[in-house]
């Protein structure tokens, strides 16, 4: 299997009032083609920071991220040129990640014009098709985000991310702000996308979602991976105390 994303010796340290706060400490991470990798951990464990580094939104203090063997950072630019399309991100909060003054359709059309075609009419057609696949009808697509439910907005964000035709989707807590029925619709959509060969990095503190979707899982605590491996193995035989504690906290 080809490693599509490979990160070595990754650290991120934030500076605040003269203190240095390490958020991610010497982490090794990789993602194979067509794989779904989960990252679990409590809040403050560094999951989101890791996601931002992998998406190129945060420049690591040490270490580097390789995409298909090439470093993603060139000077101060991450994912230069065509590379940008390959890795896209879906954010945690569907209420704040869509521009409230832009209709859903336009938000997606903008992304398509950026990444696929210059022709607005063609872009609109692609956008509608994409949104339809995400379960958003044409009438809903022409609405503003505030008249859609959380689940619909999250699916619209996924549509926007997919408009770049990425190889990798980084989803940072995609289900934590939406209802259970919307969650199963979103997970179904993800399973669909995986069948098309998309690789997914799934950040979540919901172990149920991780167990359902991911092939491999990394367990993160205080900026380091305490355990990693096959999802089945980790859930059946967690070795670290921290992982055991996480699994024991799932309501039965």
């Amino acid at each position: 299997m080809t490693r599509i994303i490979d990160a070595t010796n990754l650290s991120v340290t934030f500076k605040s009032y003269g203190y240095e706060i390490p958020a991610v400490k010497n982490v090794e991470f990789h993602l194979n083609e067509g794989e779904v990798v989960g990252v679990v951990g409590e809040s403050g464990s560094g999951k989101s920071t890791l996601a931002r580094v992998l998406a190129g939104l945060q420049i690591p203090t040490t270490g580097q991220v390789l995409y298909m063997g090439e470093p993603i950072q060139r000077g101060s630019v991450t994912y230069p040129g065509e590379m940008r399309k390959a890795v896209q991100m879906v954010f945690q909060d569907p209420y704040s990640s869509l521009n409230p003054r832009m209709r859903i359709l336009n938000a997606v059309v903008e992304a398509i014009i950026q990444h696929q075609t210059r022709d607005r009419a063609a872009a609109e057609e692609i956008a509608l098709k994409l949104l339809k696949r995400m379960g958003i009808s044409e009438t809903d697509a022409r609405k503003y985000p505030n008249s859609l439910s959380g689940g619909q907005r999250q699916r619209a964000s996924v549509a926007r991310a997919l408009s770049a035709q990425p190889k990798v989707l980084i989803a940072d807590e995609p289900t934590s702000a939406i209802d259970q029925s919307a969650q199963s619709q979103l997970l179904e959509l993800f399973t669909d996308l995986m069948a098309d060969g998309l690789s997914i990095i799934l950040i979540s503190h919901d172990l149920g979602v991780i167990r359902y979707l991911s092939d491999r899982v990394y367990v993160m605590e205080n900026g380091v991976f305490v355990e990693s491996g096959n999802t089945q193995d980790i859930f059946n035989k967690p070795e670290e105390r921290y992982t055991q504690k996480l699994i024991a906290s799932i309501p039965k």
Binding site: E42, S43, S149, G150, G151, Q152, D179, Q180, S181, Q183, S184, Q185, L187, E188, T191, M194, H205, D206, L207, G208, V209, R211, Y212, L213, T231, Q232, K245, L246, A248, S249, I250, P251, K252
Partner: protein, 331 residues
């Protein structure tokens, strides 16, 4: 029904003032009962009216421009649906404690924890500063906060989400209320912290024989900790049943919620999903509001309005007109 209920909510309807003339119905025919010492879970999707129903129990609806239009809320024999401000002052905090939705925004950010607790302790008769302090420390110990003397002098931003939620619970139990309404106390907290907070609520109930209403949209969590479950959909209570009975639910919505749990399926197996979205507030169809999403819908589901709340047994109510045909009428 019976005298022993601590709380009886009967066909409560809550309206919001949108403009001077326009009213919007946000809760409609909500009914359920609560016995003393019971831990009751109230679940529903966002916008189903859970929070508004909770607010009607502590008399803070008006702050949101809403009011109880009709129906009855009987708490310990007293009718609260149209209670006055003065009546509420005697009840809110003293007999019914409230843990608000957002743990992170719950405590007042510019007041030290000690000051917030003092406010909760000083409802009712005034106490001396020393008494307040010792009670505050006692309360913090009760909610298992370490080094309470230090925490008293801290501001909310210095505490973690779980600790803030503990402080909110401490405030809610300061007056030994008979009922605690906890509105999504664990939303936004980690699973491990969630487990601790739920344990704490269970302990509070056992120690003080308090009844608790726990609001959530997580059926799995509610099912694991509560005695009774009340399910809301689009402003209506559609079912009340015992927690162990969810798999024998007699309402298609509860069934669908239960079946859409991801821990029931194999990884990447077929997930049961509920079609579509709940109807929007103000655009509720007549008859059953789950009709458009239901697999068992028939004409009479849409023609019966309002849907009666069928009593199946002492502890089981369902608002499905077809519950007998669909689920074989088994108890």
């Amino acid at each position: 029904m019976s005298k022993q209920n601590l709380l009886e909510i009967d066909s409560v309807r809550i309206d919001v003032r949108v403009t001077r003339r326009k009213r919007l119905r946000i809760v409609d025919t909500a009914s359920f009962n609560l016995q003393p010492g019971q831990l009751l879970g109230l679940i529903g999707e966002s916008g189903s009216g859970k929070t508004m129903l909770c607010r009607s129990l502590v008399g803070t609806l008006l702050r949101r421009g809403a009011y109880v239009h009709s129906g009855s809320i009987k708490f310990d024999g007293e009718e609260l649906a149209h209670a006055t401000k003065r009546q509420w002052q005697k009840i809110r905090g003293r007999q019914i404690g409230y843990v608000p939705q957002s743990a992170l925004a719950g405590p007042n950010p510019v007041l030290k924890i000690g000051a917030q607790l003092a406010e909760a302790i000083n409802q009712g008769e005034k106490k001396s500063a020393a008494e307040v302090r010792s009670r505050a420390i006692e309360l913090l110990e009760l909610v298992q906060i370490r080094r309470p003397e230090v925490v008293l002098k801290q501001y909310p931003y210095e505490l973690s989400g779980g600790m803030k939620q503990r402080v909110m619970i401490a405030c809610a139990i300061a007056q030994n209320p008979k009922l605690i309404v906890a509105d999504e106390p664990t939303t936004g907290l980690d699973v491990t912290v969630q487990a601790e907070i739920l344990d704490l609520l269970k302990r509070v109930r056992e120690e003080f024989k308090t009844s608790i209403i726990l609001v959530s949209h997580d059926l799995q969590m509610i099912n694991s900790v509560c005695d009774d479950i009340v399910v809301m959909h689009a402003g209506v209570t559609v079912e009340q049943l015992s927690a162990g009975q969810v798999q024998n639910s007699l309402h298609p919505y509860t069934r669908a919620l239960y079946e859409s749990r991801i821990d029931l399926v194999e990884p990447r197996g077929r997930l049961a999903t509920i079609k579509g979205q709940p109807p929007a507030v103000g655009a509720w169809p007549s008859g059953c509001r789950f009709a458009d999403r239901c697999d068992y819908v028939q004409d009479r589901c849409r023609n019966t309005d309002p849907i009666p709340f069928f009593k199946i047994s002492e502890s089981h109510m369902s608002a499905c007109v077809r519950h007998e045909e669909i689920f074989g009428g088994k108890k």
